[in-house]
Amino acid sequence: MTFSPELETKFAKMLQSYPPGRERSAVVPMLIYAQDETGYVTDELVEEVARRCGVTSLQVHEVVGYYSMLYRKPRGKYHVQVCTNISCLLVGGEELYHHAEKKLGIGNKQVTADGLFSLEEVECMGACSWAPAIEINYDFHHAVTPEKFDALIDALQKKHS
């Protein structure tokens, strides 16, 4: 399997950045970047990463199972992560999460029928100073209120209607 030219360049450089014989170190970054292109970790992707890093596919599966940010199922085009860890919780993170469930009509780790959004309740994202925080794909949004959340989602929805 091949990736976009940019990603292929990135991977080629990545494999050079570890000492010889330590290609396996690239397993995690390779998975996370490849996942952005493929949407989720497919069986085919596991085989490919195993081949490129010189490990067995089982070893890659062990890694995939360990890290919660590697997904074995397709996510929405916009993956909405709401933090309910302590700092966010204290300023309405949990309420925000429940609001998100209602707004999107889906539960934790589910995808909307149109495939546009997926929702995940996550632990601390390191944005405690700006709690409650959410992350949509790689973009952080700070001090999110239910109203702000609705506006964000509506804007994204509009972009695709």
Partner: protein, 703 residues
């Protein structure tokens, strides 16, 4: 190699002062002093895991409890293994281990021989404080022989380590994390239909301390205490692994190596552990058969024996021509009796068996050397091992396991000269690809490395025969280092067949006979044989018998291609249904003990005896003990210590020391090339061997 004196340290465990070599793990030092530190994940011989926390002990001056399975002993260390704090820790650990454990012990296969049960009984608390729902995950079938019940799993990683380190397969791993962590097989699918692609050896099941991994053959069959456990020797390949057969009501229900007392330690492959099922295959012969026209009719034993004896006597009286083909799987006593029957009873030297390796030339070439034949243990202890012309992991799984264990424990250097990729490539010091016939030339490429080794064990397959064996020995001599040899042979008693003189030119103990008879090929090609007596062999599988009028008597378990040509077929007992001794590929004699009985069959020895009695000739008493006694007295090398054999040990025969004037025909020597999943006739009738996805497997695929 110089050995330095091992430094010892003095420490105190539970008030007992003990001395232990520096670097010893506390758990081992305690065990040697007779103090048990309980543990699940610790397993001698495999890498350390420190996952289960069961072995926590109190070490004075250490701020908290220490992990006994990874802590090396130190001078002046004072250890308490049974203090109130330790007891509390154990109770806590067990309470956690039981958090999601289903406690379905009444139906669990492991119930009664479960380490978790034993530990809870001994160290655990009777009550749990958990009131939460237990996590449940459905049971998965990973292969016909391996089932995984995740909730029972205590995540000790033993299975992962034994598969990776012991078997060299690495088919098991860990999926997920924390409370939802599970063992994963190597074929993970997106739809959760995971499965295994491996050796199907069942080592993971054997090593599992709980009932998380269970065997498709044995599961839900019986309670362990309802079985009789019969320690015997596997009848498949030549490595001679001890397998303990669990027998209930005369049926073999499981095979394992219950007490690790055999030469194989904790090792068994799929054949030794599961492939006993041919014993009760529905096509098993249970009555003598007589040819009537082009079909067979069942006849009583008395009539069968009378018919055979009458024809034998008639041909003998008329000075007719006999041919006798023996087996690679029958016991030493039977082989000895058969050759005696042929030579003395029938007056023929036309006796042979399918040769699977050139042992006789090796013994001749080793003239003047003592102790040049390696034992199974030598393959482990050797500093260097050279494998020539064999896919060892496929064909000789125990020997390959030994070499792997050597690499793991003391950096044995493994060299291979093979016609294709082999599993050993993963850990060998050097591997050379050489086509059959080119092995000896290829060895020159390894000369420099091999000459630097302090010692060497050479294992060679059937490609090395005749003059190539002598060339191999000359090459090894030129290295000027101590060398031991293993001539690789196919089946459970291939070695015993040669030793007992199932050969046309050599009698028992390699004594040359006056007038050598016909070889196996020559017998099949002879059109003037009056009688051909074939015991436990299938030479007509893909060849025809030239003699159209030859009276053929076959003793076998099944109606093989050979048996179909017979005039009389006598249903024989398999090695699991008889007593006697077998000699493994390294010349180690081991005791075979009867585990089951299949109605209508008789052990080959009894069949020989009954025919002899009917013919009114005296070949000897057909009791295995009497015959073994005669073998010990008369066959060179077999004067092995009786107590060793009687108590289930392996006694190496002292082989002859050269001067074997063999008329070997190298072209007749060929291995059947069995893989891990085939085993000649018995393998064809084993449902397990045929059921696994990997069957029949392929040699030199690098697996």
């Amino acid at each position: 190699m110089t050995t330095t004196a091992v430094e010892t340290v003095t420490l105190t465990i539970d008030g007992k002062t003990i001395q232990s070599p520096k670097g010893t793990l506390l758990i081992e030092a305690a065990r040697k002093a007779g103090i048990e530190i309980p543990a699940f994940c610790y397993y001698e011989g495999y890498s350390l895991q420190a996952a289960c926390r069961m072995c926590l002990v109190e070490v004075e001056k250490a701020p908290k409890l220490q992990v006994g399975c990874t802590l090396p002993v130190a001078e002046g260390m004072i250890v308490h293994t049974d203090s109130p704090q330790v007891q509390k820790a154990r109770k806590g650990t067990l309470e956690f281990l039981l958090t999601n454990h289903p406690l379905d012990c009444p139906v669990c296969d492991k119930g009664g021989e479960c380490e978790l049960q034993d530990m809870v009984f001994r160290y655990g608390a009777g009550e749990s404080r958990f009131t939460e729902m237990k996590l449940h995950i459905d049971e998965q079938q990973w292969s016909p022989v391996v089932f995984y019940d995740a909730p029972r799993c205590i995540l000790c990683y033993r299975c992962i380590r034994v598969c990776d380190e012991g078997m060299g397969v690495g088919a098991l791993g860990l999926g997920n994390r924390g409370a939802s962590a599970v063992i994963l097989p190597n074929k993970v699918t997106g739809d959760n239909q995971h499965y295994l692609s491996c050796d199907e050896c069942g080592a993971c099941i054997d090593i599992c301390p709980v009932g998380a991994l269970t065997s498709g053959i044995y599961r839900y069959q019986t309670r362990p205490w309802e079985m009789n456990h019969v320690g015997t020797i596997c009848t498949h390949c030549s490595n001679g692994c001890k397998t303990t057969l669990g027998v209930r009501n005369g049926r073999i229900i499981r095979g394992n190596n219950r007490d690790h007392s055999g030469i194989n330690g904790e090792f068994l492959c799929i054949k030794g552990r599961y492939a006993f099922d041919f014993v009760e295959h529905p096509e098993r012969l249970q009555s003598p058969l007589k040819r009537v026209g082009d079909r067979f009719e069942e006849i009583p034993w008395s009539e069968a024996i009378e018919t055979v004896a009458a024809r034998f006597s008639e041909v003998k009286a008329a000075g007719g021509k006999f041919g006798v083909i023996g087996s690679n799987r029958t016991t030493n006593e039977e082989n000895y009796y058969l050759q005696k029957f042929a030579r003395q009873g029938l007056g023929t030297s036309n006796i042979d068996h399918q040769r699977t390796g050139d042992l006789t030339t090796l013994l001749d070439a080793l003239q003047g050397r003592g102790g040049a034949l390696a034992t199974v243990a030598d393959v482990y202890h050797a500093k260097a091992v050279l494998i020539v012309g064999s896919d060892l992991s496929q064909q000789h799984p125990l020997l390959a396991f030994q070499a792997r264990a050597g690499v793991r424990h003391h950096d044995t250097r493994v060299y291979t000269v093979t016609p294709g990729p082999v599993r050993e490539d993963k850990y060998s010091a050097r591997g050379v690809i050489a086509q059959p016939g080119g092995e000896i030339a290829a060895l020159e490429g390894l000369r420099e490395d091999l000459a630097k080794e302090p010692e060497l064990v050479i294992l060679f397959g059937d490609a090395i025969r005749g003059d190539a064996v002598r060339a191999l020995v000359r090459f090894a001599d030129s290295l000027s280092i101590p060398v031991k040899y293993v001539c690789l042979l196919d089946y459970a008693n291939s070695r015993g067949a040669v030793d007992m003189g199932l050969t046309p030119d050599l009698g028992p103990g390699y004594h040359p006979v006056d007038r050598p008879g016909l070889t196996l090929d020559q017998m099949l090609k002879a059109s003037d044989l009056d009688v051909l007596w074939i015991v436990g062999a299938n030479p007509l599988r893909n060849r025809a018998l030239a003699g159209e009028n030859t009276f053929v008597v076959v003793q076998d378990l099944f109606l093989t291609e050979t048996a179909r040509r017979a005039d009389i077929v006598l249903p024989a007992a398999s090695a699991y249904e008889k007593n006697g001794t077998l000699t493994n590929v390294c010349g180690e004699v081991q005791r075979v003990t009867q585990a089951a009985k299949v109605m209508g069959t008789k052990p080959d020895l009894e069949i020989f005896g009954l025919i002899a009695r009917e013919m009114k000739i005296n070949v000897g008493i057909w009791q295995w003990q009497k015959m073994f006694e005669e073998i010990r007295k008369t066959v060179r090398g077999y004067n092995v210590p009786l107590p060793v054999v009687a108590t289930g040990g392996a006694a190496q025969t002292n082989p002859v020391n050269g001067r074997v004037p063999s008329l070997i025909r190298p072209e007749e020597i060929r291995s059947a090339g069995d893989t891990l999943f085939t085993s000649g006739t018995t393998g064809r009738y084993s449902n397990v061997l045929n059921a696994v996805l990997e069957s029949p497997g392929r040699l030199y695929s690098g697996k």
